[in-house]
Amino acid sequence: MIRLFVPKDVSALAVGADRVAKALTQQAGEGVQIVRTGSRGMTWLEPMVEVETPEGRIAYGPVTPADVPGLLAAGLLSGADHPLRIGRPEDHPFMVRQTRLTFARCGIVDPLSLDDYRAHGGLEGLTKALAMGPEAVVAEVTASGLRGRGGAGFPTGIKWKTVAEATADRKYIVCNADEGDSGTFADRMVLEGDPFCLIEGMVIAGLAVGATKGFVYSRSEYPHANVTFTEALILAREAGLIGPDVLGSGRSFELELRVGAGAYVCGEETALLESLEGKRGMVRAKPPLPAHVGLFGKPTVINNLVSLASVPVILAKGAKAYADYGLGRSRGTMPIQIAGNAKYTGLFEAAFGITLGEIIETVAGGTLSGRPVKAVQCGGPLGAYFPPSLFDTAYDYEAFTARDGLIGHGGIVVFDDSVQMGAQARFAMEFCAIESCGKCTPCRIGSTRGVEVIDKIMAGTERAANMAVLEDLCQTLKYGSLCALGGFTPYPVMSAVRHFPGDFNGSGINAKVPAE
């Protein structure tokens, strides 16, 4: 039996993976099995087809249905040469530079095979956690230096310890999979490509802090991920990985998937909890922290999906092995997601410390258009725009903060020199206005005033005075908002103003930016 691997990750489906799989099924003949996997993360090569050979898996891509007859004639099934042949994916420069810990299995295994999961190191972390006991697990996660991968970077172990020490009749684990930042798709790739890894991480969290119920809050914009994860939950329950007696330990942990309804602000942890409770996704004032008063008023661990999905490998390999990667107070790896106008787009998991320039110029290969890079937005719609002059910034929580930016959830969106930064600043304010929950005034009203002020600046109306108003407004948003939506919207706006003043010269928002 020859095995072919075709991703069913939605980014591969979006560029025709199902049609390629169908063509292969029809034309490859008897004795060929097609396994649907997640994505390796080399998105620009999707749909990428792999064949199992004695030399390992050999990849071809990007494959269209029209390529299939030629590929089969050339000897695809034996890994033979062809213009689309990539070779072993793990030998590709994009992969060689990576450290795949959290995403070690993604794109390799059948996401809905627990046997595959076990064969690739799955459940090793949970097995160790069960043997270690709760306190030791919390200590291990703390020692790993793992920090929140959603953007805030709060130490995961400290959150867990707080909940573990709280006394309550009921505690919860909530996974924040409301991955709304443009340029990010790491959570989605785990849900679609390695769902058992998230389940294992949440079970470990539950055992460690004494929680018996978990929720994954995903997005309605991720219908494919939700289907895959729902199936994974059924399989996990059948196998006793979740339920009344986790792997025969006598401990109980239930897990449920919930889907949001298109509100970006529900990615903010307290708004997410309100939404889970069936309310409007309005931000709560902190304190009390969710670790003390969380979901339904109970102590709650709320972690980003990537944080939770990193826990199994930390337990399996040990805290030290994980903490050995990284720089300063940023330990371990980060799945950096390269998007927008980049030549090589996809997911690049690397130890903290790589420079932004290395990511953009070497890993991402510059722009897709071939034009010069003008700006990169790091950390989603609330993240700063970095000009190439700041490409020496190390990828690290503190280094980005020092440059008035944030790494956020790890997204990087590349723009070439055709981008008009006034338009991008306006969009940041517009997005904040659309998505504001309305609870606090700076965000609710300031965002709309921000759009108006930028329109005046771009039209050349009292430019200097309005620039001062914009600065002042951004200060009010930054210091007067309850959550990061209002608080961080000034990052993209002010970084655009600071680094690209020429784009705010009053010659109109659609003014053609002069080429080099």
């Binding site: 309804a261 298109g262 339904f296």
Partner: protein, 163 residues
């Protein structure tokens, strides 16, 4: 019970709505799963359903109305036959997303969130489908499409609207 908005939801069925509501009552925080269930069945959250949900959850109508209107997904009237969820966010902007969107909207003669007069196509703005590495991207009746431009976007929509 007759209602002034009956014409909005042609296949409104209070028994079906009651079934959907009661099927979710065992959940912790059942409001969003109920509203998703109603929209899946009726193409929107019919206004007739709001008092039913409120009663079942022991909350006020105003509260449930507030929840429905807070979330961008929930509609008060059904969408067109083909729903295009087109990403407006930065990663798509960086590779011509604005231009592709303008091209589609101009060719359909509608704006964001609107439905063509024949009820064939609704175009909704979404902010990120997680297809940022294959941008610009859209979901057309739930089918993902990536690396779009104006022409291929129109083709993707045409494919879905063909009888």
């Amino acid at each position: 019970m007759a209602s002034k908005t009956t014409n909005l939801v042609a296949d409104w069925d209070p028994n079906r709505a009651a079934e959907i509501i009661s099927a979710h009552l065992g959940l912790e925080g059942p409001a969003l799963p109920i509203l998703h269930g109603l929209q899946a069945a009726f193409g929107c959250v019919p206004s007739e359903a709001i008092p039913m949900v409120a009663k079942a959850l022991n909350r006020s109508r105003a509260e449930i109305h507030g929840v429905v209107t807070f979330y961008h997904d929930f509609r008060e009237a059904p969408a067109g036959k083909t729903v295009v969820k087109l990403c407006r966010a930065e990663a798509c902007q960086a590779v011509g997303g604005r231009e592709a969107a303008s091209f589609l909207l101009a060719s359909l003669g509608i704006g964001w969130g609107e439905t063509t007069p024949d009820g064939a196509v609704t175009v909704e703005a979404v902010y990120c489908l997680g297809l940022c590495a294959a941008a610009p991207a859209a979901l057309v009746n739930g089918q993902p499409h990536g690396r779009l431009d104006g022409m291929s976007l129109i083709e993707a929509v045409a494919e879905e609207t063909q009888p």
